[in-house]
């Protein structure tokens, strides 16, 4: 039995179709990375799978239970850490975990024991009796994760768990996710960070504007794209000419900014001298050059025509923020 099964799942907000009939399946014990830019539909999908939002079409099941017809059974099987760490700043960390334990049906004594164990696991024992409002961002995220684990769920939903965290805190969360998965927990992780999906996920689904545009292991998705590309930093005023020259050697890729030229090369490093020679003969100065192997961003570009990173600074259209 798959841990998560989704068929033609859809969610409309008035005229806007935030999730447009997606299909996916997550096996038990897998880490599934749901990758996409802001406004792609990731959070809306997670909210439907965690029974916080009713779908307007299609169906989904989590841990063998339908998210609409058996919502309460779904909620008993899942742990949820949403995009905004949903923590009451006036509660202490210990109070929050104990409340979560009560809500999950644990008897008081078991809840207290579990709270102590989880606080120790996420290294918050020392801060357990301080108010959450005094915690750093990383501490809040760890507490949120601990609260999601209080009832040892079989499926854990993490909605952008490391957004806004420093690199050290991010790595700590990654280690915790790996440990949980080693213990058998299925993890559904949404992220806008390529590295996060690449590092953690067994399988990745790439979503853009409400549709899944690609799905597979990180390696298989990158292999699909095929050829590496050369990334050139060109002097100002010469970019157009550089693009003309490079187009005769290989396929041009969409530029990341106004001074970089990206050209796909069939033979990898062996094609670099040809590129450099052609630009030199045209009198174009190259400030820097790098051979770049396909990344998940390249997969995203291939499927959607635009970069994932560029989308992060865009207008984030397509997904109304849940109220």
């Amino acid at each position: 039995m798959a841990a998560i099964e989704v068929a033609a799942l859809e969610r409309a907000f008035g005229e806007v179709l935030a999730v447009q009939g997606i299909d996916l399946e997550v096996a038990e014990g897998e880490i599934y990375g749901f990758l996409g830019p802001n406004g792609a539909g990731k959070t809306t999908t997670v909210r439907m799978l965690t029974t916080l939002l009713l779908p307007t079409g299609g169906r989904a099941s989590v841990a063998g239970h339908d998210v609409v017809g058996e919502a309460r059974q779904v909620r008993a099987s899942i742990g949820v850490a949403l995009q905004e760490a949903a923590l009451d700043p006036l509660m202490t960390g210990r109070e929050l975990i104990r409340l979560q334990a009560t809500l999950q049906g644990l008897p008081p004594a078991a809840g207290r024991e579990r709270a102590d164990a989880l606080l120790e696991r996420v290294d918050l024992t020392g801060a357990a009796d301080r108010r959450v409002g005094t915690y750093s961002g990383g501490m809040k995220r760890r507490l949120d994760l601990a609260a999601a684990l209080v009832h040892e769920p079989s499926v854990l939903f993490l909605d952008e768990p490391t957004t806004g965290l420093d690199p050290v805190s991010r790595k700590t969360i990654w280690e915790e996710v790996r440990d949980l998965n080693d213990d058998g927990t299925t993890v559904f992780l949404t992220t806008q960070y390529l590295e996060e999906a690449d590092q953690l996920a067994d399988n990745v689904g790439i979503i853009d504007r409400g549709r899944i545009v690609a799905e597979g292991t990180p390696e298989s998705l990158k292999d699909e794209i095929g050829d590496p590309h050369v990334e050139l930093l060109i002097s100002e005023g010469e970019v157009a000419e550089a693009e003309r020259v490079c187009a005769e050697i290989g396929r041009l890729l969409p530029p990341k900014d106004g001074r970089r030229v990206l050209v796909e090369v069939e033979n990898g490093a062996a094609d670099i001298p040809r590129v450099v020679r052609a630009l030199d003969e045209a009198g174009i100065a190259v400030e820097s050059l790098e051979l770049v192997r396909p990344t998940l961003d390249d997969v995203f570009v291939d499927k959607t025509g635009h970069h994932l990173e560029k989308e992060e600074s865009g207008d984030g259209d397509g997904e109304p923020a849940p109220a």
Binding site: T50, L52, Q73, A86, L90, L99, Q100, L103, Q104, A147
Partner: protein, 252 residues
């Protein structure tokens, strides 16, 4: 479940002084000003027979505090929605209406606190509770139940709007509704149209139910009218909250 959520609501209120202060300080100041400034009005023909204006005003002060408690409870609920805390609760395998009931438990506790506060102030400054201990307990019970009832309407508004500023913006309306009741002045001595509005305002029935044991002793008929008014507001609050909850779950 409801007890745990109620305990959290109560703790949250007492840890957030800006929610507690309006419930206590503002009505106390108003009580002091009105008692000091309008004390001679008990001599007016037709004014109910009372020991002092303070004795008359205690019920009004409790009602004001109770209404503000309902508003504060709504604000706190809206803050929970804004910061996403209600998502944590909605994602738990509990009956979702328990979340509303837990919040109302906190509001009821505030109502009880307000009633005890003002009864204590009354006793300290010389007011006599004609109904004795049973009368005081009845007043406390009615104020607590009223807070629960009004809290349901505050919760409904919070669930519907998800905005603390919208709920907070209703504060002036709370005062208008209160002033158009017999909370601060005998209905018989009001002029029209305030008199007619006060006659049919459910808050007037509740105020009289709270006031009677303080100024005259327990009266079954007056108490029953107060209970009926409270029950009506409870039903209204539950219906509105239930519909607002369904709306919130539908739109996420």
């Amino acid at each position: 479940m409801v007890r745990a959520l109620g305990a959290r609501s109560i703790r949250q209120t007492f840890r957030r002084p800006q929610l507690l202060a309006p419930i206590v300080i503002f009505p106390t100041l108003l009580l002091a000003v009105q008692t000091g400034g309008a004390g001679a009005s008990i001599e007016l023909p037709g004014f109910p027979p009372v020991q002092s204006f303070l004795q008359f005003m205690l019920a009004g002060a409790m009602m004001q505090s109770m209404m503000l408690a309902g508003n504060s409870g709504g604000i706190a609920f809206a803050v929970d929605i804004e910061m996403g805390f209600t998502d944590r609760l909605f994602a738990a395998p509990i009956p979702r209406f328990a979340i509303v009931l837990g919040r109302l438990a906190g509001t009821a506790a505030l109502g009880l606190f307000a009633s005890i506060w003002f009864l204590a102030i009354g006793l300290i400054f010389g007011a006599h509770i004609e109904g004795g201990i049973p009368g005081a307990l009845l007043a406390m019970a009615l104020v607590t139940a009223s807070a629960l009832a009004v809290g349901g309407i505050g919760a409904a508004i919070a669930l519907r709007t998800g905005s603390a500023s919208v709920v907070q913006g209703l504060f002036p309306l709370v005062l208008v509704v209160l002033f158009l009741s017999s909370a601060f002045f005998p209905q018989e001595l009001m002029i029209e149209p305030a008199k007619t509005i006060a006659e049919y305002n459910p808050l007037s029935f509740i105020v009289e139910g709270v006031r009677e044991p303080i100024i005259a002793g327990i009266d079954a008929a007056v108490t029953l009218e107060a209970v009926a008014a409270i029950a009506g507001i409870v039903v209204l609050g539950l219906v509105l909250s239930s519909r607002a909850l369904k709306h919130r779950l539908r739109v996420g």
